[in-house]
Subunit: 384 residues, 2 copies
């Protein structure tokens, strides 16, 4: 727990709930007649409501992006290094909104929520949501907050896909787009990794076709395996070599099937920790949203055409050792934006952090992000 | 089935069994008092017994490297494109020996064999074997066949590790070493992938801690998942993109958790096919042998020192898109061999085949292999 909350923290924050009664027709054709979105805000909305930043989370993120929910918290929100007073997303200048997406498991309506039609948890009956559905629901939240246009929408990985989607779906409502460590669509390899992870969950006998809550079980083994695999692919091979190499747990080989190498123990620990905090149906949904994302599909698979109506400025960031969403995938977006004559900046950051680098405090990454965000704030304050 | 056996095939072959009564003390300290090795041979041993080639198999290989075991076989052995009359490993010039390694599941003594001490299958009690144990048992087979010195030992991936080990363990008994798509030891990332695959098997309720035969079950789900993950990592991202891209099974998205993309179906098919032919305990053992392999550990972790007593000529081959055992890993071996003043040739082959490229018929790969093998045959025939 933080004995003293640091000066550059947003401090103690309390999640809020937006209840939306406007039915949402999903990409799949199914309809959510009502839903809750849980969100946090940091900083203050200016009088003209022009300084709002939306933070979109990735696979396993939530609304708690910065600060502390209680003095008992052992650590701050998941992107605390980038959001706060004087930080790249400076809460003395911006009003920051972070939410838990539909289908999540941190308070927004999702598989663990009660289905108002049945009085029981949705479980596997919760509809599969697409990135566009998240963006639609985020627009409802913006309306609720009185935000006509985001100063910026910001996200990494699956979060970056939401940002791209905002620029296409609501071009008038987003002034700047920050797309970090993302891709215009998953590759066959990406989809394959997701399917292996889903299989680990789906084939866990405690999963019960997603009805585990009814059975009083949790597919802990499957979730652990899915996370072990996911986590492994978020790290760079270099970082794993430096951090673990071939170090042994007990200094010698035991010739048994228990974990012998440090890297094995580490992955088990990460997998098990995740399995106690995350919902399996949500994990399944989130990976499906990743697989399905392909905005160019509606534009003859032409990414240039797809992005041609975007009106915002773009910042794209990738990381050298990210092999899940490699720099080449960001460059596909950059090239399409250039060809569509959009205003785009791009930085490929030297980092050994792999895909996880988008969450880490890398000086050049944060300098690039700060510069882009500060120019936005400067323009806003000059207009004021 | 082959209607007519092609002219460049070794034809119909019958596996043979070598029963060894010399106890083998394993790396783990445990002792196998006796064991069988199943092997096939192609071509004819010359009078001086100098033209013998040993083929070492990889994780899921076996003794059936070339030709057909029956006219009903739907396809030939696993390396038929490289072994046969006029092929890179030319059976008109060489006598080729291919075996199933100890711990395997194709007839050599392994977890599915009867433990003579108990009268029941070894199951999980079969000792964990190391690459050096395989090489020791292969030397017994060489003695049995009257082969004092192999003209070459050849292997890819885990097979290449056996070749390296031969050059260190029996420097007098190997004239040439062909090490394809291999590594001097696994990286932390390699080990992590293996552990995720092992967990899929170990946590399958049908695994019963390895005693599935006694329970009348097979951990089919776990084996399928392990193979899906393995297979995925053997392919290059490029090849997956070309072969599957984002092609859908049914031409449209169904918004369900059943496989929707072709790449998912393909992996399911590969995984399920493997699960019906391979033994789970063998899979566990083989991945452990991979993890443990690190011959330099006995030489102060100095690969140059480790290889300094080798006396053979070396050919190293790697493939550009192999990310499981990348060209950089082969170069570590090449550099150590150069520094140890050994005779080494190295070719990095342009291929989109990923790690699996070592099994494929790539013209430059086969030209390099042919040239190296033909020089060996020419030298032997000049001495005759």
């Amino acid at each position: 727990m933080p004995e003293v909350i640091p000066d550059d923290s947003v401090g103690l924050v309390t999640p809020q709930t937006f209840h939306c009664d406007t039915p949402l027709t999903l990409r799949s054709g199914r309809v959510l007649s009502q839903y809750d979105l849980v969100y946090e805000t940091y900083g203050e909305l200016n009088a003209s409501k022009t300084n709002a930043i939306l933070i979109c989370h990735a696979l396993s993120g939530d609304q708690h992006a910065a600060g502390y929910n209680s003095m008992d918290d052992s650590k701050p929100g998941w992107w605390d290094n980038a959001i706060g007073p004087g930080k790249p997303i400076d809460t003395t200048r911006f009003f920051v909104v972070a939410l838990n997406n539909l289908g999540g498991c941190s308070g927004s309506t999702g598989p663990t929520s009660i289905n108002p039609d049945t009085g029981k948890p949705y479980g596997p009956d919760f509809p599969i949501v697409a990135v566009r559905d998240w963006v639609s629901s985020q627009a409802e939240l913006a309306d609720h907050l009185g935000i006509q246009r985001w100063a910026a929408v910001v996200g990494g990985s699956l979060g970056g896909m939401q940002v791209l989607r905002w620029s296409i779906q609501f071009p008038q409502r987003i002034a700047n787009a920050v797309v970090v460590a993302s891709a215009p669509k998953l590759s066959a390899q990406n989809i394959a990794f997701n399917e292996v992870a889903r299989q680990a969950i789906a084939k866990d006998p405690d999963f019960h076709d997603g009805n585990y809550l009814e059975h009083g079980t949790i597919p802990k083994v499957g979730l652990t395996q899915a996370r072990m695999l996911g986590h492994l692919t978020y790290l760079s091979e270099d970082a794993m070599r430096q951090k673990f190499g071939r170090d042994l747990r007990e200094g010698k080989l035991n010739y048994s099937f228990a974990p012998e190498f440090q890297v094995e123990s580490y992955l088990h620990y990460q997998g098990e920790k995740f399995s106690t905090r995350f919902d399996a149906n949500t994990y399944m949904l989130m990976t499906k949203a990743l697989d399905y994302f392909d905005p160019s599909a509606d534009y003859d698979h032409d990414l240039v055409k797809c992005l041609s109506n975007a009106q915002c400025k773009f910042l794209l960031v990738s990381f050298t050792t990210d092999w899940r969403f490699s720099p080449a995938r960001s460059k596909e977006i950059v090239n399409a934006l250039m060809e569509a004559d959009k205003d785009v900046s791009y930085a490929c950051i030297d980092s050994d952090g792999g895909h996880d680098a988008f969450l880490l405090d890398n000086p050049r990454y944060h300098a690039v992000l700060s510069a882009f965000m500060n120019r936005i704030a400067n323009r806003l304050e000059a207009q004021a």
